[in-house]
């Protein structure tokens, strides 16, 4: 989220929700959209393949064909540019590459867009007009946008539209991406990923060296932990396709097949290609599962040996900070001590580290602190979680976590009632802080930044320009913000580059002392001494620069986002016009099929119905936790699919009948048909929160005694189609095909 929920309530005049269903996935978030409607007559536009609970509250509902979001947004951009509705000043001063977008948008007339997306032309015109006339408008999305083979393009085209409309860096504008679960933003910021160190530092040698230093360990020692040094800088397997590392059916690029899997805090059964996951789980040498509730991965596999289930404490049995969807942090206290023999997550990891002999290195940074510009040992033992939080705060400079000290977060927790829910501003003793210190909170005095990229607010009060991330120029164009874009209160007029050891004196126009020159890091991201941050504060400058937002990503297969048909498209006639990507070599250590899968057959002939997945409000993720609650499971006593009566009767399926759903991958699931008007007859919709039945086989005998939840059912992910994003490798959950058969 560039902004926050309170900001939407206070300032947004229009909200475009696309690929998100907050009424079901984030009811508390939904409240704010409804409040905005009540207080400001905010217009709510919902774009979704399904008439969702969110759509039921919308002023305008647009039913889109799955996987055509890029085309739809280009349709809006087409009209925006055609009518001159774009914010020309904003684009001229703060954006790079919009002309390329304009070129692509020119192709997307309302008629073309309507044909591709299935949205009537008048609704496209109406929406474009509304967004042009109603400012500020915010865009909200979630997994309906990201979980596609074109997910990266989807997530790029929406901010591009906001840039074109001049809605970025404005109160009530921005891109507000809703995180579904508690602390998903925190997990993302910590980069629990195969391709980056915490804080989005990536895997470059420079980053590793910075982290080695920050952790107080030897870089060579770190490197020696890898099979060979080259692996240190290569991405690991992704969560989406790790099973190929075991099965090796597609070409993999690894020093060895995956032999052991440790699952901690992940609903493995909510990933796509469940049948493949099952095969891989069976083939592993060792499977360890560490969760508060039994992870149904343990049930999915038929293995009898080398499967360990460790009980891990819940959030109520531990303490620490969590990050909310709007980048703000909250301290959470322990309610009770861990029950029975379970251990907290960190204790499990500490025990693990001890067994493998790196406990000292693992915990060392918690006993260190920066003293006079240098990281030194300061104590013999650490205090959990305070010292871990301090370590994070002092290390992760890319997103400006410097201000997130445990002391400040605890103080905020104690005084939460002193903050305004709409502005997040504190009062009384909390004056000068925003609730949760939304990052970047550059240093211990910084109030946090509730709205990103707002140049009308001084940096030291939460303002900033766009980050200077991609160099100083591209194709001969200066990538820094125009001279007239001066962040309020800054001593530097106009754009400026990110601050490094080399340019600090020149950019800030101040001299460093010799002592400072000795201690200062190479740039603002790796400056453990804090000198760069200190100088920037004095100058009212954001250390990451003041540059232009880029709409062209020259490293990506699609420098400007392009519409590409889903791999299993319901419109074969459009596949030739908008084909998917060429097959991909070695992304996350494995080859990925794109065009070869798309063109293998005319899938829609055998699989005529579009397959859409959804969440149900009473279940989250793989659903194990909620299905273990008698009251929650009672709301959805069994796995079902929403199907339009017209489609159902075509197959002779009455309301409540069972049906088989077949996928192009040859897998099938048996679910109950639930007649429902929220879907049109060309598509069906399944919840993804069930597990415990696999292709018609009841896995009940696999549950250890006393762990079987009240309800089990087929997982929709058994039939989600093959497909992965070209950059992030997130699975294609939301655009696929299936065949219906009466059971």
């Amino acid at each position: 989220m560039t902004n926050h929920f309170g900001d939407v309530v206070g300032h947004s005049k229009a909200i475009l929700i696309i690929g998100a269903n907050p009424a079901v996935a984030n009811p508390i978030g939904m409240k704010h959209f409804l409040q905005a409607k009540d207080r400001n007559n905010t217009q709510l536009i919902v774009v979704d393949p399904i008439y969702t609970k969110t759509a039921a509250k919308a002023d305008y509902y647009l039913r889109i064909r799955t996987g055509t979001d890029v085309a739809f947004i280009y349709g809006l951009l087409h009209l925006i540019f055609k009518n001159g509705w774009e914010d020309k000043e904003f684009i001229k001063k703060r954006v790079y590459g919009m002309d390329k977008v304009k070129e692509e948008a020119a192709k997307w007339t309302p008629e073309v867009v309507s044909d591709v997306t299935g949205i009537p032309t008048d609704q496209i015109v109406q929406t474009a007009t509304l967004l042009a006339e109603t400012k500020p408008a915010t865009v909200v999305w979630a997994l309906g946008i990201t979980q596609h083979s074109t997910g990266t393009s989807n997530t790029r085209i929406l901010p591009i539209m906001q840039l074109a409309l001049g809605n970025m860096g404005k109160k009530g504008g921005g891109c507000n991406i809703i995180r579904g679960h508690d602390n998903v933003q925190g997990a993302t910021d910590m980069c629990c990923l195969a391709d980056s160190l915490p804080g989005y530092y990536g895997l470059s040698e420079g980053s590793w060296k910075y982290f080695a230093k920050s952790w107080g360990v030897d870089f060579d020692w770190l490197q020696s932990r890898f099979a060979s040094p080259e692996w240190m800088n290569k991405k690991g397997f992704s969560l989406a396709k790790w099973w190929q590392g075991v099965l090796q059916e597609e070409q993999t690029y690894s020093s060895s097949p995956i032999r052991a899997l440790w699952v901690q805090g992940n609903g493995l059964t909510s990933m796509s290609q469940t049948a493949k996951i099952q095969e891989a789980l069976n083939k592993l040498d060792l499977l360890v599962i560490a969760e508060p509730f039994l992870n149904e991965a343990a049930v999915l596999t038929n293995r009898k040996d080398n499967l360990y289930v460790l009980p891990v404490a819940t959030q109520f049995e531990t303490e620490g900070s969590v990050t909310a969807t709007n980048r703000s942090s909250q301290w959470r206290s322990k309610v009770i001590d861990p029950l029975y023999e379970c251990k907290t997550d960190h204790d499990v990891m500490f025990e693990f580290a001890k067994k493998f002999g790196f406990y000292d290195q693992y915990t060392r940074a918690m006993k260190m602190d920066v003293k006079e510009g240098e990281l030194v040992d300061v104590k013999k033992d650490f205090v959990w979680p305070d010292d871990a939080v301090s370590e994070i705060a002092r290390t992760l400079k890319t997103i400006g976590l410097g201000g997130w000290t445990p002391e400040r977060l605890r103080k905020q927790q104690e005084n939460w009632y002193m903050f305004d829910p709409v502005t997040l501003a504190g009062a009384g003793p909390m004056k000068g802080q925003y609730y949760g210190l939304p990052w970047p909170s550059w240093d211990k005095k910084h109030p946090g930044s509730p709205v990103l990229y707002d140049v009308d607010v001084p940096v030291n009060d939460g303002g900033m320009g766009f980050r200077n991330r991609f160099g100083l120029e591209h194709d001969g164009v200066n990538l820094l913000a125009a001279p007239s874009v001066t962040v309020k209160g800054s001593t530097i007029k106009g754009g400026y580059p990110e601050i490094t050891r080399e340019n600090i004196e020149e950019v800030l126009g101040s001299k460093l002392t010799d002592a400072e020159k000795q201690k200062i890091g190479s740039n603002w991201k790796t400056d453990i001494s804090g000198i760069i941050q200190e100088k920037c504060r004095a100058a009212g400058v954001a250390p990451y620069g003041n540059a232009r937002a880029r709409t062209i990503v020259w490293e990506f297969p699609d420098p400007v986002p392009l519409h590409r048909e889903p791999i299993h498209s319901s419109r074969p006639d459009l596949v030739s016009k908008y084909p998917t990507y060429p097959d991909q070599k070695n992304n996350f250590r494995v080859d990925v099929k794109f065009i070869s899968e798309q063109q293998a057959r005319e899938w829609v002939k055998e699989f005529p119905t579009m397959l859409v997945t959804m969440r149900v409000v009473n279940l989250s993720g793989a659903g194990m936790l909620e299905r273990s609650s008698k009251y929650l499971s009672h709301l959805t006593p069994e796995m079902f699919a929403n199907i339009h009566p017209d489609l159902a009767f075509k197959y002779g399926i009455r309301d409540g009948d069972m049906m088989w759903l077949h996928s192009p991958q040859g897998t099938k699931i048996k679910v109950k048909a639930q007649h429902n008007q929220s879907v049109t007859p060309d598509r069906i919709c399944l919840p993804y929160n069930f597990a415990g039945v696999m292709q018609g086989v009841d896995l009940s005998p696999n549950y250890p005694e006393g762990t079987k939840p009240y309800t089990t059912g087929e997982s929709s992910n058994t039939i989600t189609n093959y497909g992965f994003d070209v950059i992030t490798q997130i699975p294609e959950y939301n655009a696929g095909l299936c065949r219906i058969e009466k059971a």
Partner: protein
């Protein structure tokens, strides 16, 4: 709130209700109800029909002149000073008449005993317990929590994600609702 005419009321703003079931589930959990018995229900009309779908949360409305109390053959109902309509499960005979009289379908009858016969009536207490000693184990067993006695908001309204469900003195509730509806469409 403290005026003599104060009456506690529920009100569900259907333009806010998103059918998340939080009220219903929290109620069942708080009062340890048998599965399938919901003192508070969330109902959706025209499910999935574009432009027509409406959801609303319903429980005992704690009527000012409750018909349930009028028809009870054993007079097990009583009305608190603050207008909360409660009943005595020790008097109730489970005849079902209150259900027939109630416009809102609030009274229900958990099955009881070896033959699964219909037991005594159960309904929303606005989290105010029953005639037993306040916050006693017995009150808890028969009627669930007495949050009102602890100065807390009824659990359903406390957990309502979108503030659709309002509870409190009738005048306060209608004032909040009036403010909401009057600013709706104005953009003040």
């Amino acid at each position: 709130m403290s005026s003599e005419t104060s009456r506690m009321k529920f009100m569900c703003d259907s333009s806010r209700c998103i059918q998340c079931f939080a009220c219903s589930v929290a109620c069942a959990e708080a009062h340890d109800l048998p599965v399938g018995i919901s003192r508070r229900k969330v109902v959706t009309l025209h499910e999935g029909v574009e432009g027509k779908e409406v959801s609303v949360s319903i429980a005992c409305m704690h009527c000012s002149d409750p018909p349930c109390a009028k028809v009870c053959p054993v007079d097990c109902f009583y009305i608190r000073e603050d207008g909360i309509v409660l009943h005595d499960k020790k008097k109730c005979i489970g005849c079902g008449y209150c259900l027939y009289a109630c416009p809102f379908g609030a009274p229900q009858f958990p099955r009881d005993g070896a033959f699964g016969m219909r037991g005594v009536m159960d309904k929303c207490t606005m989290c105010a317990g029953g005639p037993e000693k306040t916050n006693s184990a017995e009150e808890r067993r028969f009627y669930g929590q007495n949050r009102i006695a602890e100065g807390k908001v009824p659990i359903c309204a406390a957990v309502c994600a979108t503030n659709a469900l309002l509870v409190g003195d009738a005048e306060d509730v209608s004032a909040i609702y009036r403010k909401r509806t009057s600013s709706r469409g104005k953009g003040e």
